[in-house]
């Protein structure tokens, strides 16, 4: 089974990576103006990444399991026979696990990857300003990737999709920084 052959898996991947990146952007922009040490930014991001990963894994597993069980029961009704131990049941179980993994790992990686520059800044390899800028750039690059990924599925122009995703990221930045200035 291809990783993204299932539309549900693809949807989970895009939506949850987006969630992860936006969480990271919220943390990055939220600490933009204050004098927050890089280690704190990274740890806050790591904490949030783990939380959304567990939330994704658990939530998707339970929801997907219920959906697939209902699907299995419907199939059994149509065939007038149980599907226990069949390849059909095996595939349904595989899909539940795969979707839960995608739902958990996508936001985890989506939020953790852009925060890596802060780890480098904490070790003194790069400065805090460079860490902030490169974090934002990384997050925006992931958003562009998501836009291109979706455009490839829908057969639309990648640039337009990427710009729409990018707007979400920039809007987050604008709102969070405006709030920081206000309070």
């Amino acid at each position: 089974m291809g990783l993204f052959s299932d539309p549900v898996a693809r949807r989970y991947f895009v939506m949850n990576t987006y969630d992860g990146v936006m969480t990271a952007l919220g943390i990055i922009f939220g600490t933009f103006l204050g004098n927050v040490p890089p280690a704190t930014v990274f740890k806050a991001g790591l904490g949030a990444s783990i939380a959304i990963m567990i939330s994704g894994l658990w939530g998707a597993y339970m929801a997907e399991r219920a959906e697939r069980l209902a699907e299995k029961k419907e199939m059994e009704k149509l065939l007038l026979k149980p599907l226990d131990g069949t390849t059909v049941e095996e595939k349904l179980r595989e899909r539940v696990l795969l979707n839960a993994l995608i739902d958990g790992l996508s936001p985890f990686l989506g939020s953790l990857l852009p925060l890596f520059p802060f780890l480098l800044a904490d070790s003194g390899i790069i400065g805090i300003t460079l860490a902030r800028i490169s974090s934002v750039i990384m997050a925006l690059l992931i958003l562009i990737f998501l836009g291109v990924f979706l455009a490839k599925i829908s057969g639309e122009k990648p640039l337009k999709r990427a710009l729409i995703f990018l707007t979400g990221g920039l809007l987050t930045g604008a709102i969070v920084i405006a709030l920081e200035v206000l309070f």
Binding site: E74, M75, L78, L79, L80, K81, L83, G85, T86, T87, V88, E89, K91
Partner: protein, 97 residues
């Protein structure tokens, strides 16, 4: 025991696995020379297919357990030919008319 040379089954199956996958797996069974699967009726989630298997010694139990593994339900055994050679259905005078 006499060898089974042809088996025709009326089967209801889910759209997945496809008839291609099922035909390939049935054809790989020992004693099977060839398989034909034709769709009789197709629904939203299930399809009714006719499976014709020919071979020198068709392992009937293995055929049924394979179909069971794929979640396919055998509705009826529509034709069986057993023995040393293929004996086709003889058309009677009544049938001709």
């Amino acid at each position: 025991m006499a060898r089974i040379l042809r088996l025709v089954l009326d089967v209801v199956k889910l759209l997945e696995p496809s008839i291609i996958e099922i035909a390939e797996k049935l054809a790989e069974l020992p004693g099977v020379d060839g398989v034909n699967i034709g769709v009789i009726e197709i629904d939203k989630k299930v399809e009714n297919v006719r499976i014709t298997i020919e071979g020198q010694d068709i392992p009937v139990e293995k055929v049924f357990s394979l179909l069971d593994k794929f979640g396919a339900a055998v509705h009826s055994i529509d034709e069986v030919i057993a023995g040393k050679r293929l004996v086709e259905h003889a058309i009677t005078l009544e049938e001709e008319v």
